[in-house]
C-alpha cells in the first residue's frame, strides 16, 4: 500500500460532526425574501393568463418577462427556460415565483394565484415518443455478416426505471443583487456551470456574477445541472428585489417530484452467436429525457458507449435515442447513463449463457476484453483489465461459485435463495475530448507568507472527500503537515475554473494538476513570501482522438473496474426479497485515502443494489410522479443490507495522481444485474429484464409457475 492511502481525519469532519456546518437553509434569513414557485399542474399546456391576487407592499411576482438577459438556462443545449414560456412542458414546471418577506404570506399568495391554462395532449411513456432530442449511432466490424453467419440469434428487451438521488439536503439557493453584481450561493456541484448560466440569464458580464458553494448535503449528480436552473430563477428574482437577498429552499416533495432523476430506459438487444461466442450485438437504446434536454446528450453518450459492457464483441451496431416526454427533465445521477446499459448487457449475457447451457460466469469470462483489445468505439484498452483477478476475489469473499451451484438445485421451501454476479467498468473522466475542448481545467496553489498553502480550484465537496484528498496530495508533494494545506468552499470570485465536480474526474484530473502545482511550488519555494502557481490540463499523448460524430476513438483515457456479487432470498409466499449479502471489488486505482474510498465503495454499492430492488418511482397516466416523499420512495435503511463488503483492487493509472483514477461513480454503476441475477436464480431460473423488481413482481413470476392453491 502506498503511504498516501493511509487514512486521515477528513477536513470537513469536525464542523459536520458537531452541527456547526452551515448549509444553505441554515443561513439566518430574518431579513431575506422568500421565494415560492407557482408550478404547472399539467404535463403540457398553454399558459393563457396569470391572475395574481392583490400583492401587499414588499411582495412581488417574477416570471419570464422579468428575465433581464435571455430566458434560457445554459446547460449543454439551452432549451430549458428560466421561467416557462408560452407553454409548460411538464407537471411542476415553474411559471412564476412569488417573493416576499414573510414565508407564510408568500405561501398564501401562491395558493391564491391563478394561472389559466389551455391543456394540450402530453406525450407520456418512453414508447410513445414523437420527439427525438438526440440520435446517436456507431458501428464496429460487420454486423450484418455476423448475423448472417450466426448459429443462434437472441433478442430481448430491458427496461429500467427512474432513480431519485434522494440526497438528504434538498436543493436551495440564495441570491442577492447589489452594486451591479449578482451573488448566488447554495447547494451545488458545479459553481462555474452556474456562473455561465446566471450570466446568460441576467445578461451580466462574467465579472458581475459570483457563485459560491455552501456546504452541500449530498449531490450524486442531482446537483450537477439542476442548481443552474434554480440559481437562474433565484438570481432573476434577486435582480428584481433590489438589494435584498432572495432565498428558495425546496421542501422534500418539491425536490423529489420536480428535480432531475436517473433516465428511465428501454433497450432492445439482439445478439448473434457463433460456435458458442457472441459475435455481434445490434443494440437499440432509448433514454427518457423528459421535457427538456438538460444533460441527456452526455448521459446518453456514456450509455451507448458502455452498451457492450466489459466484453470484446467484434461486431457492433449501437443506436441510442434521447426522447422527449412531458415529464420533469431527467439528468445526472452517479453512473451517468452507465447503469442502464450495464444492466442490459449483463442480463443479456446471463440469458444467452443460460440458453446455451453454459455457466453464466464462465461464459462472460470467455468474452472479457483484455488489455490491447479494441473498445466498443474502436479505441484501446491501453491498460490491464483486472476483472479476472477481481472475480476471484469476489468469489472468495462471497463463495459465489459454490452457492451458485447449490441454489441451482430445485428449491421448494418458503424461502428460496439465489446469487448473482455482475461485471462492469466506468470510463474515468469526461467522455471523449470534453476535458480538452470544453473544460480546459486550471488549478492553482497559493502559498501564504506564513507558509500555509491554499488550494484554489472549483471542486465541490458534497461529502465525497475531495477537500481532504486534494489537500493530501498537495501536502505530500510539499512535505507539509496536512493542517498547513487548506481548501475553502469554492467561490468563483476567488478560484479558477478547474471544471465541474462530476464524471469521477476531480481526483484524477484536478488532483494531478494540483500535484503538478505542488511540484512547481516546491521547486520555487521561498520562505516568507506569498507565491501562486498554476497548471493547465494537458491531454495524455497516448490517446486515440475521439470523434463524437461517429463515436470512434478513445472515449476515455482509462477505466475503473468492478465486480459484484449479491445473494438474495425470496419469500415465495409474499415475494419479499432480502439481500443476504453483497460483495464487491472495485478498482479505482490508488486510493488517495482508504477510508474515503471505502466510503465511496460502500455508499455507491448500496445505491446500485437499491436501484434494482426497492427504489420505485413512476410517472402516472397524467405525467405526475406520486412517489414524492421519503415514505413513498424507498431508499435503504441501516437494516436493509447488513452484510455488504467492499474491497479495493488497485490497478494504477500512470496519468492520475499516484496512480488514482475515477472512484465516485464506479460502485453504483453495475450492481443491479448481480441483484436481478440472484433473484432469477431464487425464482427457479426465470428470465427477468426489468428493474426495479419488487415483491409484487416476484409474486407474479411465482404465481405464473405454481399451481393455484385456492380455488
Amino acid at each position: 500500500m502506498r503511504e498516501i492511502s493511509e487514512p486521515v481525519p477528513k477536513k470537513d469532519h469536525a464542523a459536520k460532526m458537531d452541527g456547526s456546518a452551515v448549509y444553505v437553509a441554515d443561513w439566518p434569513h430574518k431579513d431575506m425574501l422568500h421565494g415560492k414557485f407557482i408550478r404547472s399542474p399539467h404535463a403540457r399546456a398553454r399558459v393563457v393568463e396569470i391572475k395574481l391576487p392583490p400583492l401587499p407592499a414588499g411582495y412581488f411576482a417574477v416570471d419570464k418577462n422579468d428575465v433581464p438577459g435571455i430566458n434560457e438556462v445554459h446547460i449543454v443545449m439551452d432549451d430549458t427556460p428560466v421561467y416557462a414560456n408560452e407553454t409548460v412542458e411538464y407537471i411542476g414546471e415553474p411559471v412564476l415565483m412569488l417573493v416576499g418577506p414573510d414565508e407564510d404570506e408568500v405561501k398564501r399568495l401562491a395558493d391564491e394565484t391563478q394561472v389559466v391554462y389551455e391543456e394540450l395532449p402530453p406525450v407520456l411513456g418512453i414508447r410513445n415518443f414523437d420527439t427525438v432530442f438526440f440520435d446517436y449511432r456507431y458501428d464496429k466490424g460487420d454486423v450484418a455478416a455476423a448475423f448472417a453467419a450466426a448459429d443462434q440469434v437472441y433478442e430481448e428487451e430491458f427496461e429500467t426505471g427512474y432513480q431519485e438521488q434522494a440526497y438528504l439536503e434538498t436543493q436551495g439557493m440564495i441570491a442577492r443583487y447589489s452594486d451591479g453584481k449578482v451573488a448566488v450561493h447554495g447547494s451545488m456541484q458545479c459553481p462555474y456551470y452556474i456562473h455561465g448560466a446566471v450570466a446568460k440569464a441576467t445578461g451580466l458580464a462574467a465579472d458581475k456574477v459570483r457563485i459560491a458553494q455552501d456546504i452541500t448535503g449530498g449531490g450524486f449528480g442531482g446537483k450537477e445541472a439542476y442548481p443552474s436552473i434554480l440559481a437562474c430563477q433565484v438570481a432573476v428574482a434577486a435582480y428584481k428585489a433590489g438589494g435584498r437577498p432572495v432565498r428558495v429552499v425546496f421542501d422534500r416533495r418539491e425536490d423529489m417530484e420536480y428535480t432531475s432523476k436517473r433516465h428511465p430506459s428501454l433497450c432492445v438487444y439482439k445478439a448473434a452467436v457463433k460456435d458458442g461466442r457472441v459475435t455481434a450485438l445490434d443494440i437499440d437504446i432509448l433514454y427518457n429525457a423528459g421535457a427538456y434536454t438538460t444533460l441527456t446528450a452526455v448521459v446518453l453518450q456514456r450509455g451507448v458507449i458502455a452498451a457492450s459492457g466489459a466484453y470484446n464483441i467484434p461486431n457492433l451496431k449501437v443506436r441510442g435515442k434521447g426522447v422527449k416526454t412531458n415529464t420533469a427533465p431527467s439528468g445526472a445521477f452517479r453512473g451517468f447513463g452507465g447503469p442502464q446499459t450495464f444492466f442490459a448487457i449483463e442480463m443479456m449475457m446471463i440469458h444467452i449463457a443460460k440458453a446455451l447451457g453454459e455457466d453464466s460466469l464462465a461464459f462472460r469470462l470467455r468474452h472479457l476484453a483484455r488489455q490491447g483489445d479494441t473498445t466498443s468505439t474502436s479505441g484501446r484498452y491501453h491498460f490491464p483489465v483486472p476483472l479476472p483477478a477481481m472475480i476471484e476475489a469476489v468469489d472468495q469473499a462471497s463463495d459465489y461459485r459454490r452457492k451458485r451451484a447449490e441454489y441451482s438445485k430445485a428449491q421448494t421451501g418458503r424461502f428460496r435463495k439465489g446469487i448473482g454476479m455482475s461485471l462492469w467498468f466506468h470510463g474515468a473522466g469526461f467522455t471523449g475530448s470534453g476535458e480538452r475542448d470544453h473544460i480546459k481545467a486550471v488549478a492553482r496553489l497559493r502559498k501564504r507568507p506564513d507558509g500555509r498553502v491554499e488550494v484554489l480550484a472549483s471542486q465541490t465537496d458534497m461529502g465525497q472527500g475531495i477537500k481532504t484528498t486534494l489537500c493530501k496530495i498537495v501536502a505530500k508533494e510539499l512535505s507539509l503537515p496536512l493542517e498547513r494545506v487548506f481548501y475553502e468552499n469554492p467561490d468563483t470570485d476567488r478560484v479558477p475554473d478547474s471544471g465541474p465536480t462530476v464524471a469521477s474526474r476531480s481526483l484524477m484530473i484536478v488532483g494531478e494538476l494540483l500535484r503538478q502545482c505542488a511540484i512547481q511550488l516546491r521547486e520555487r519555494w521561498r520562505d516568507g513570501e506569498e507565491q501562486t502557481v498554476e497548471e493547465h490540463y494537458k491531454e495524455p499523448d497516448f490517446l486515440l482522438p475521439f470523434d463524437l460524430d461517429h463515436f470512434q476513438g478513445d472515449a476515455y483515457p482509462t477505466y475503473s473496474w468492478a465486480v459484484a456479487a449479491a445473494e438474495v432470498q425470496v419469500d415465495s409466499l409474499t415475494g419479499v426479497q432480502e439481500v443476504l449479502g453483497a460483495w464487491g471489488s472495485f478498482d479505482a486505482g490508488t486510493p488517495i485515502d482508504q477510508n474515503i474510498l471505502r466510503g465511496q465503495m460502500e455508499g455507491g454499492f448500496l445505491q446500485g443494489l437499491a436501484y434494482a430492488s426497492m427504489e420505485q418511482m413512476e410517472a402516472d397516466g397524467k405525467g405526475r410522479i406520486r412517489n414524492n416523499s421519503l415514505s413513498d420512495y424507498i431508499i435503504p435503511t441501516a437494516m436493509d443490507v447488513p452484510v455488504m463488503e467492499a474491497q479495493a483492487y488497485v490497478e494504477e493509472y500512470p496519468d492520475g495522481p499516484y496512480g488514482a483514477k475515477g472512484a465516485g461513480e464506479l460502485p453504483t454503476v453495475g450492481g443491479a444485474a448481480a441483484y436481478l441475477g440472484a433473484v432469477e436464480q431464487a425464482l427457479g431460473g426465470a428470465s427477468l429484464g426489468r428493474i426495479p423488481f419488487g415483491a409484487e413482481d416476484a409474486l407474479s413470476v411465482l404465481r405464473a409457475d405454481a399451481p393455484k392453491e385456492v380455488g
Partner: protein, 272 residues
Amino acid sequence: MVNGYAPISLREALELMAAHKLTPYAGGTDLMIEEKREDSFLFLHKIPELKQVSDDGEYIRFGAACTFTELLEHSLTPALLKEALSRIAAPAIRDEGTIGGNIANGSAKADSALIFFVADAQLKLAGAGGERLLPIKDFYLGRKRLDRRPDELLVEVLLPKKWLGSYYYQKIGARKALAISRLSFAGLLTIEDGKIAHCATAFGAVSDVIIRRADIDAMLIGKTPAEGKAAKAAYLAAFNEAIIPIRGRVSAEYRKTVCLNLLGDFLERFGI
C-alpha cells in the same frame, strides 16, 4: 399555553375535552405529518392514568398513552404485541408513538391495532357521559371513521390474555425499518386436548378497516387438526370471499394473494 392544554389528570383532560373543541395529541407521529393546524391540541403525556400497565387476571390493561417503546420494555407486554411493536417505523417514532394514537388514528395499517383486533381487545373510552367499554372491532366504523364522540378520549386497551401464547405474525413492508405496512397478518391458534380450542385471524392494511372475521374462524373451532384439514378448503374459500382488498402502494391482487398465502401458511404451521 397557546393553542394547547397539557392536563395532569384524566379528570382535567375530560373536562377540557367537554369544554373545548380539541384534538387529542398522544404521540403526534401521525398528527404532525399534516401542515395545517385547525384545532388546539390536548396533550396527553402528563396524565399518569393513561400511562399505566396492569394485569387483572383476565386482561392486560394498557393505558392509551403508553408509547411503543415503553411497551416493548414492559414485562407484562405479550410476545406477539412486542413483535408487532418492534416492526413499527424506527426507534424515534416508537419512542413517541402510542397505542392509543395508533388505534384512534383510524388507519387499517396500524400495526398495534392489528394485534388488538386478532385478540378481540376491548377499548375503554371516557367522556362527559362517563365510561364505556366496546370491542375494538366496533370502534372502527369505516375508513377513518370511529365510534368516538368529540368529548371522548380513548383511555385504556384491555387485551385478553387467554389465547395469546400460540401465534403467527407477518408484516409486509417495503423495507426492514421505516416501513408502513403494505399488508399485515396475525393469527392465534390453540389446540387443546386434540381439538382446535381457539382460532382467530386478522388482516391489516388490506381494506379500509382491519379484517377480523370471527364467524369464518369459527369454522375450525372445536375440530381436530384432521377435521380442520378437511375444512381448510372451505375456510380459505370463505376468506377468499371475505377479503376485498383496496389498491394502494401495491395492487389489490397482490394483497389478496398474499393474504391467502399467509393464511394457508398459518394453518400449516399448526399442522392443519
